[in-house]
Amino acid sequence: MGFQDEYDAWQAAVEQTVQKRPERKPAFVNHSDIPVKRLYTPADGIDSEEAYLNKLGFPGQFPYTRGIQPTMYRGRYWTMRQYAGFGSAEETNARFRYLLAQGQTGLSTAFDLPTQIGYDADDPFAKGEVGKVGVSISSRLDMETLFRGIPLDKVSTSMTINAPASVLLAMYLVVAETQGVDWKQVSGTVQNDILKEYVARGTYIFPPKPSMRLITDIFDFCAREVPNWNTISISGYHIREAGSTAVQEVAFTLSNAIAYVQAAVDKGLKVDDFAPRLSFFFNAHNDFFEEIAKFRAARRMWAHIMKERFEAKNPRSLQLRFHTQTGGSTLTAQQPDNNVVRVTVQALAAILGGTQSLHTNSRDEALALPTETSARVALRTQQILAYESGVADTIDPLAGSYYVESLTDGIEERAWQYIRYIDELGGAVAAIEQGYMQQEIHKAAYDTQMAIERGDQVVVGVNKFTIDHEPQPELLRVDPKLGEIQAERLAKLRQERPAEACETALARLREAAEGTANLMPYIVDAVRAYATIGEICNVLRGVFGEYRSPIF
């Protein structure tokens, strides 16, 4: 009997079984509405050597489906980069040193909301928010404290900062200067992805056009002055957290990336000069195979986009490098220890998907910022996967899985449909202005909520397997007095700094903002003169205006 006959015979046998004993659900569909078949066979996957070379290729080779490096984790593990930051610069500095001492290999800085929206800690808008979701940074003095005793030529630092990314990058560079570190040796990432702020995260300051200018200014400046800096981390993470499906996460992120590349090209930058420094940031949720397939699909799609759409030549321009964070919104306040297990599954998916760096969430994050103990367990989760599980010993071990390859194709196909539609709308910026992405994400978020309320989607400990009495874990508390302490420090700084130099630097920045010059050097000068983030952003607010989100 041939393959087809054997298959048909099996099908017939299954039909009989199902009649007697029905399956758990009438139809199996994943969160992206991709039907999940009962069984996958060679007919669904890579069925020839030619198909293999076209769709997969070898690791480190186009289209990079199996990974961007030729040996992947056999050479070096992913960077274990835990996002951390709370309270004052002193407290966060202590947490940084703790995590480095525990074997973390890169820093990732969380800033508080006033910093992220360009307000000083003593601004009325900062009331109640200082130091809450991240560290409070108002001036270069705070930044110096944050990295005290941490040599900036030895660590790579990721900063989750978007609207005022230029200001925080400038502060980081000025701190490097004071440490005597050459900018050419400085490495790290600014998230610098404003489009997803309009779509999903809400920490925007300026309207889209000047925001895009600030971003391309960073591309241009770093290509010349800070060559090892990752100038943007184009983020699907927040899109997913806002409720999107995995397919939407890939599609909207790549659409935004296309908009950034196009903006830089339109500005006259050569694609191969800046594209190697673009990086991505994805989410890892619970649907294990869907997540793995998502990462592989994204890599393949980006290689095609850069090669065919932007005619990039440098192989590094074609490689989608990405950081992954496990899904914050999948964590539950109920039975928080269960979150350790969720995070493990998600982290494993990210590793099998070939991530370059990983943040594992802490079990108590649905309740508050992580305590030191819970942050350590989260880091240990990565270390156990890396050093004990053996999953990093071969490259892309799930390649050739009939299911994973079929799902990778399925996600890619559906994501292209979105990208083509967004192109028709006039690109990502136009799509966002029309509220298209926002509405699609909201629909998906609402469907998820309803599926959970109906019980169609099980959340262990929430709508199934609940317990009556939830013991409450110990939580991290930020000093409510921090706002006042920071305000006093700022008052002192404003009194002691060279007033004239600071005013001149801000005046020159205003003039530059009104023209077309690259703003980075002016911002660096303002930071050198001890201008604060609020003062710098207020100058830019004055010239660019502020964005107000329409409600769709």
């Binding site: 909301l113 992220q116 109640g128 809400g202 909520q449 939580l475 930020v478």
Partner: protein, 283 residues
Amino acid sequence: MAHPIRVLIAKPGLDGHDRGALVVAQGLRDQGMEVIYTGLRQTPEQIVATAIQEDVACIGLSSLSGAHLELFPEVTRRLKELHAEDILVIGGGVIPQEDIPILKQAGIAEVFTPGSSIADMAAFIREHVRQTDDLGSAPVSVPVNRIDHIGIAVRSIQEALPFYTGQLGLAAVHEEVIPDQKVKAVFVPVGETDLELLEPTAQDSPIAKFLEKHGPGLHHIAYAVDDVAKALSAAKAAGYRLIDEVPRDGGQGKRIGFVHPKDTHGTLTEFCQRVHEHEAQRG
């Protein structure tokens, strides 16, 4: 219930995570409620002002940034200050169990953390919102002389005015900008009553919000009274909610005060008192 329950979903502070707020807003709509969403980055003052202006029965506050202990109680405090504490306030977001008693102490009726169902929230709101038809029945009269003016919201005075001055043959007699209200007003007398055309001068002007929601049209009716302060306190004593507890300055040098439209069956009602003699004689 004849009228749907009106709910304001609000995001106080700088937190930009509004997935929960948006999902709850839609969920409550699907539960038959009328829901208004404020958008991001609202101060407690703005939230309370919107709640009163929109005459909602319930405010749902959402915060994931850890600032809830400072921002939520500020909303209830402000409501109390404006004698609008009958508006039910509920909260949600990333809120530790141990904070919930503190919030309840501060007047937040219930806190819904992640994992709560929309059906439960809707049931709670239905059960706890004020009953709207229980105004005191004993009449306390408010002495009113005549209609002083009728306020009409327009997008552009320049575009609207020709209907009145051309078609109706009336004359515009006075124009002024009222900075407090962020409006430009033009007065067109008809007999002893003025029409007051109101055009917003800023996006966050109450008139701009009115236009956005209702489009141009009748905005309020102002009754001339001898003493605004007395008229306001009489209305309050009768159980009508006030927008202005104390008189403030209006156009043409008048002292004015507003009564809440919900308690006056949908019409925003103003009392006004002409304080300058020459103004009083003009019309």
